[in-house]
């Protein structure tokens, strides 16, 4: 079984299909990432550095905003990613809906499968 799964070529995170250990080398077809900390099965690993405030991208779409600088190989989860949706506690109107709609549904043709959003775009990568 693959160690991680990258769903869209636009993604900057991968999903661990089994537990990842620090020092483990992951090759995602060009990019090599060294796992920085223990990452549980089903959790996400950063494929590249993500600056605080930058988008965290999975399924080819933003799943939230980095709330801290995330180095490549780090565990990406609630401790360093914030959602901007449904945040009544922020006391501000929902923002970004229009920008969201301007986003392409998923990869442009030619970068993955011909079916937008299809998990057939998965580039299944194995650790080496």
């Amino acid at each position: 079984m693959k160690a991680v799964l990258v769903i869209s070529a636009r993604d900057n995170v991968a999903t661990a299909l089994r537990a990842l250990a620090p020092g483990q080398r992951i090759d995602t077809g060009g990019t090599v990432v060294i796992v920085a900390e223990p990452i549980a099965r089903g959790h996400k690993v950063a494929l590249q550095p993500i600056a605080s405030g930058g988008p965290v991208i999975k399924y080819g779409s933003a799943i939230g905003t980095a709330s801290a600088d995330i180095p490549a190989g780090a565990h990406v989860h609630t401790h360093n990613v914030a959602s901007r949706r449904g945040r009544g506690d922020l006391g501000v109107p929902a923002t970004g809906l229009e920008a969201r709609l301007a986003e392409p549904p998923d990869d442009p043709p030619g970068r993955g499968s011909d079916i937008p959003g299809a998990p057939t775009t998965m580039s299944k990568e194995s650790s080496s």
């Binding site: 079984m1 693959k2 799964l5 769903i7 999903t15 661990a16 299909l17 549980a40 099965r41 089903g42 959790h43 996400k44 965290v56 999975k58 399924y59 779409s61 933003a62 799943i63 939230g64 990406v76 989860h77 609630t78 990613v81 914030a82 959602s83 949706r85 449904g86 945040r87 009544g88 506690d89 922020l90 006391g91 109107p93 929902a94 809906l97 969201r100 709609l101 301007a102 986003e103 549904p105 998923d106 079916i115 937008p116 959003g117 299809a118 998990p119 057939t120 998965m122 299944k124």
Partner: protein, 391 residues
Amino acid sequence: MTIRPGFLGFRRRDGRVGTRNHVLVVPTVICASVVAERIAAATPPLGVALPHLAGCGQLGPDMRVTHETLAAYCAHPNVGAVVVVALGCEQVLAQSLADVARRHHKPVDIVGIQAEGGSLKATEKGTRIAQALAGTLAGEERVWCDISELVLSLKCGGSDYTSGLASNPTLGRVTDRLVDLGGSAVLGEIAEIMGAEHVLASRAKNPATAAGLLQVITRVETEARALGLDIRGTQPSPGNIRGGLTTIEEKSLGATHKGGERAPLEDVVGYAAPIQRKGLTVMDTPGLDVESVTGMVGGGAQVVVFTTGLGTPTGNPIAPVIKITGNSRTARGMSDNIDLDVSGIIDDTETLDDAATRLFAEVVDVASGRQTAAERLGHREFAIHRRNPTI
């Protein structure tokens, strides 16, 4: 000659097609729920009850949604006959529920607890009525029905990372196939479309439908804002987060795969409102599993496919609920509750297309009468979405 897929269903006199043939025992109000449950329990195997907590102390839209949901079940094609159990002083009117059943040409009768002189007498009379109705239904036979008559409810619950990678895209392929064949599918849980609205809006058949989708999503966000609360208190759920899901956007992007990859978004409807169009419909339901399934079945879905990562047991009183998981631990550990294991997608031993072919066959078999795990286990959860606090 092309052979079209179909299933063996019950063709109703109102033209709709059912996948089950229940005697539905409907309490008008919480006070009649126990009597209704006893009548249904005394009428196996066709009798099912709709115990609920509402029917009185309600105002405005909340009262309307309760009444419309109960009425939708009385009209549902999976129901062959109806017994309405009233208390006698409640807001929901037994006569109006019975009238709905009659308009759909279903045999119906009413039992009043106050009128009959208490629980025991009402239970006895109701049981006699329900058993007589069950006797008439027992002779009805299933007939071949085209697959385009099917309305499939798409649901996920107890999601983990496998949901977005395996079970939801498997279901999405079934949705696309069903819609290609002229059938219908309904997706609920507005909070779990939040963050993936651009995917569905890009497939809306026209700008008005896209606007309708955004309107209900904005309403949910506005309600969270009005409470001054962070939706992260419930979305993703603690179990989702342990399973690796970080934000509602991530959960939504995975969840929205249930709606397929090409099925056009044809309509956006209110809670338990009739699903009238072929193709994909979004229904305005909350994310709570049982309230969501209750609404989508009320809208006319005759079969539910429920994907799960961590495993959940819930069913529905009148519609079969098929449980499918992409998590091999759940498939083994909760095998009593799981109908279909698609964990081979994660393990790289089965393709999404092959898993979708198995699921499509399962949907057809279940529509034709095969019991699901939830039906065998007696999981018949029912919960009406409440819009206002009880007065």
